[in-house]
């Protein structure tokens, strides 16, 4: 975006104001009776005692972001304005605190950058935005949908891309809205964790992790490619507690992360060679007879074949050469891991974002299983779970309109968060790989994607091969974004619809990591003209049915609180030991589940055992055993890593002005040796470039990264064009298609070079 565009966007959304000025304007407009925060500021010593529980209305909220922690929030409201928030103390996991991102929420509904009204852009990318009414916006979209349905005799020309921007359960109304319009095109799969999900399904029959709070019981913890100090801050206390009780913590990561700095031992593994390392450890454990023979005999299949493979094809020396970790270290940690009981491994998502990622997760699972650590408290190969997500999916499950036609053949879309069940029908939606969105938009035909609906996703910041995406975004006839801020995706949309923040809607939130459940109440009235995804679906349905009766089955009037209640069922109540959803207004509830996954040793695999040899995996075109799989061949001089920043979840939070106080701009990180070879000094402006594209930013020199790596963080800054997807291609990872409908993406199998500008 050039500066002129940025300026016109700013003009369109109104000049940024200070908070005080902003609230003065609101107060002048009669929206506020009092300036928020005024009473909270401690300046007036005579103000006297503040009664926190009593002077405020208190609501329950939950962070709906794609994060392990899914924090339960207690919101303090006065005069209809959100004043401050805290972590819910009722949850032992959240324990009264949030994170740097969570505490910035108080600013979000009132951010001067927020999209306030439906707007239309005269010329995609022009920055010439003008305000329109909801009626006008719905009318334009509905007319277009009727038009494409008439033209194609189906709704397949309508494409949806949605992922993890808001995991509140009622937000599945977006998928429900698509279903209610007919058979549509869905970008399916997940860029996040699919290779590992498939791997765990092959090995164990599901992805199911121990309670993170149970990690205090571990005697040995390997944090393998996981960085909870940044990505799950609330789990750190359990790791510390285990350490205080004598557990050893080993952190394995190509980067010396913040978590590595808190471990007892840090291993700087060569990126994507984690599988070799795991197999080397397994080989040594086998040779020393330290595996749990009784457990393996009773609870697994294929161990003998795996042992043969280890004996014949793996040596610790080979693992040392592949991984860069000295032989003696591998031997030492392998022996410690095998003899400390219970021992656990936390498998991070980064290590499976490789062309050999699924194979890697399988070899790490095997390490946990052969030592008898699966099914035990304090043990487990921890990855994630969906055991607390048994909602009704009332918002999701909508009927197709009568006579709707769709895609013949194929099995229809799937996803990691697909709860639609196996539907047998003549027609299905058309499923396209979300991890190749640019390619899919460019090549989908008969019909092409004429209308693209984007919700809970920032495509231009998060999808791969951005240069190709810029081309792809020229193709649809209409692009609609549902957003809160003028992201780079909105900049290339035609219509933007303002959506509610967590404080302005009713929903429910569960975690894919811990076992807590939170209700999310509407704490404040929606600001400006924002609507929830459910209300947007209802508004669109109303207009569709006015134009063409029967063209959309989505209810035209929704009570969002009722819709939230409709997601609960008796099984949920029983699982969480509550009588009614209203119990959650007193605070989050924890599932009454055994802290150890697979504690009954009834595995979900075809054999009902742990499968060292998975025939299903072989049927799907992979190796039956958890064998080593080669890495992607480098296509440039340095490996490029683009992990999370601690100041954001993917592209979210970094744009908030409060966050800018602590994280003003992006940096890349380079080892001093790599910098010296290139004549680069600390603080230089550099160009990171590869076959995909390039980015320019300031460099920090540090030995936290290996000498063959350049690292920068995912981010969307509101006043900076930086975008790491300019240098990340869309190469697939090995696994993911089985359970999520599309293979994952090899985000960390990227390469680039750096030069001073």
């Amino acid at each position: 975006m050039d500066k002129r565009d940025a300026d016109s966007v700013k003009q369109a959304i109104g000049c940024p104001m200070s908070r005080r000025k902003f609230f003065r304007c609101l107060a002048a407009a009669g929206a506020l009776a009092a300036m928020p925060g005024g009473l909270l500021r401690p300046f007036d010593a005579k103000a006297g005692k503040i009664i926190y529980e009593g002077d405020y209305e208190i609501y329950r909220n939950a962070c709906p972001r794609n994060c392990y922690d899914t924090c339960s929030i207690k919101s303090y409201v006065k005069d209809g304005v959100l004043q401050f928030i805290e972590g819910a103390q009722a949850s032992t996991f959240t324990d009264g605190g949030l994170c740097v991102k969570g505490y910035a929420y108080t600013r979000r509904p009132y951010s001067p950058d927020r999209i306030k009204y439906p707007m239309i852009q005269d010329g995609r990318g022009s920055g010439n935005w003008r305000r329109i009414s909801w009626d006008e916006a719905m009318d334009m979209i509905a007319k277009k949908l009727v038009e494409i349905n008439d033209k194609d005799d189906s709704m397949l020309g309508l494409g949806l891309t949605k992922y993890s921007g808001n995991f509140g359960i009622t937000n599945y109304a977006v998928e429900g809205m698509m279903t209610s319009l007919g058979y549509t095109t869905r970008l399916v799969g997940t860029p996040c964790w699919p290779a590992g999900i498939d791997a765990q399904n092959y090995d164990l029959g599901d992805m199911w992790c121990n309670d993170p709070e149970d990690m205090v019981n571990s005697r040995y913890i390997i944090l393998w490619g996981a960085n909870p100090a940044w990505n799950s801050v609330h789990t750190m206390k359990y790791i510390y507690a285990a350490q205080d009780r004598g557990a050893k913590v080993v952190c394995i990561d190509p980067v010396f992360t913040q978590t590595a700095a808190k471990a007892d031992v840090y291993w700087q593994v060569d990126t994507s060679m984690d599988g070799a390392l795991a197999l080397g450890m397994a080989k040594h454990i086998l040779d020393k007879g330290l595996f749990d023979k009784a457990w393996v005999d009773a609870n697994s299949v294929g161990f003998d074949e795996f042992a043969d493979y280890l004996r014949n094809e793996i040596s610790v020396q080979w693992a040392a050469e592949k991984s860069g970790i000295p032989r003696q270290q591998i031997v030492e940690v392998a022996e410690e891991f095998a003899t400390a009981k219970p021992a656990t491994i936390w498998i991070g998502y980064g290590l499976q974002r490789h062309v050999n990622g699924g194979a890697t997760v399988r070899s790490i699972d095997a390490l946990a299983a052969m030592t008898g650590n699966v099914g035990k408290t304090g043990g487990g190969a921890r990855y994630g779970h969906m055991r607390t997500w048994g909602f009704n999916y009332h918002a999701l499950l909508q009927k197709r309109p009568e006579g709707a036609k769709g895609f013949l053949g194929g099995k229809g879309p799937k996803g990691d968060f697909d709860f639609s069940g196996d539907e047998e029908a003549e027609y299905t939606d058309r499923a396209l790989n979300i991890n190749k969105t640019a390619e899919m938009l460019l090549t989908a035909d008969d019909p092409p994607i004429r209308v693209l609906w984007i919700s809970c996703k920032n495509v231009l910041s998060q999808d791969f091969d951005r240069p190709k995406m810029l081309e792809a975004f020229k193709k649809p006839e209409l692009i609609v974004s549902v957003e809160q801020f003028f992201t780079q995706t909105v900049e290339l949309s035609d219509i933007v619809l303002p959506v509610t923040t967590l404080f302005e809607e009713h929903t429910i939130n569960a975690s894919y990591w811990h076992y807590w459940l939170s209700v999310n109440e509407q704490a404040i009235k929606p600001m400006y003209e924002a609507k929830s995804n459910t209300e947007i679906a209802a508004a669109l349905s109303a207009r569709m049915n006015k134009l063409k009766p029967g063209s959309c089955t989505f209810p035209t009037k929704v009570d969002t609180r009722q819709w939230m209640i409709k997601e609960f069922n008796q099984d949920i109540y029983d699982l969480f030991g509550i009588d009614s959803w209203e119990d959650l207004k007193k605070g989050p509830a924890k599932a009454k589940m055994h802290p150890a996954s697979w504690h009954d040793l009834e595995f979900g695999t075809p054999s009902k055992k742990y499968e060292f040899r998975s025939d299903l995996c072989a049927q799907h075109g992979h190796q039956a055993l958890p064998k080593f799989k080669a890495a992607r061949k480098p296509y440039d001089k340095l490996r490029l890593l683009t992990p999370h920043t601690k100041f954001g979840i993917h592209s979210q939070f970094i744009n908030i002005d409060w966050m800018e106080d602590f994280n003003k701009k992006p940096y890349c990180y380079l080892h001093p040796l790599a910098a010296r070879e290139r004549g680069i000094g600390d603080g230089d402006q550099v160009r990171v470039f590869n076959k995909v594209g390039e980015v320019e930013l300031e460099v920090k020199l540090t030995q936290n990264v290996p000498a063959d790596v350049v690292m920068m963080y995912e981010a969307w800054f509101r006043n900076n064009a930086y975008n790491c997807q300019n240098v990340v291609d869309d190469t697939s990872s090995d696994m993911g298609k089985y359970k999520t409908g599309a293979p994952g993406v090899a985000i960390h199998d990227q390469f680039a070079d750096v030069e001073k500008v």
């Binding site: 994170c99 750190m236 860069g324």
Partner: protein
């Protein structure tokens, strides 16, 4: 010794997550750029890994506060009961004496109100039996509230490397130093 509340900064547990700093903004909504609590990265001379060890710092609520001593309009007072140093912004004339004099940089200038302001130790929360926002927020208990009259932690230090030494002020803050893992790096 009289009761003196202090911040205990456990850099061994601190993950530099900035949660405390944002929890403060969440509570007090300071103007953009006005920061009461910040998280300071330790220089590589002090901790050899960049951006991996931190001190979370705000006002130190000194035993003998410079801000209070230099204020011409008595906009500061020190609470008898707990030693918290309170700034009364409605009395402040924005002269900047405290801002220039505090060697720890605790008082900050609010360019909108044209007055100073600083960390209050959340005294109103304290008076309601609640932890300060930053302390409550810390996910690893790396930032704690302690009473120096009773504080007895053998490993604690008052002036770690990088933290200015002003015994005449006697800052009410204690630290535990960061640790390092055994490092196994691969050879290239």
């Amino acid at each position: 010794m009289k009761k003196q509340l202090a911040f205990y900064i456990d850099a061994k547990r601190c993950i530099g997550c900035f949660t405390c700093a944002m929890a403060c903004k969440n509570q007090y909504h300071q103007e953009s750029g006005v920061i009461w609590r910040d998280v300071y990265e330790l220089k590589e001379e002090i901790y050899p890994h960049r951006e991996r060890a931190f001190y979370s710092l705000a006002c130190n609520h000194c035993e003998n506060p410079t801000c209070l001593n230099v204020c011409p309009v008595v906009a500061y007072y020190k609470r008898e009961a707990d030693g918290v140093v309170v700034h009364e912004q409605e009395k402040c004339i924005g002269c900047g004496n405290c801002i220039r004099s505090c060697p720890y940089g605790a008082p900050r200038y609010n360019p909108v109100l044209k007055r100073a302001e600083k960390c209050s130790f959340c005294w109103q929360r304290l008076d309601d039996d609640r932890k300060p926002a930053c302390v409550l927020s810390c996910p690893t208990d790396a930032l704690q509230i302690v009473d120096l009259a009773e504080f007895d932690e053998a490993n604690a230090v008052q002036y770690p490397a990088g933290f200015p030494r002003y015994p005449s002020l006697n800052p009410s803050v204690r630290f535990r130093l960061p640790a390092m893992p055994k490092m196994i790096r691969r050879k290239l």
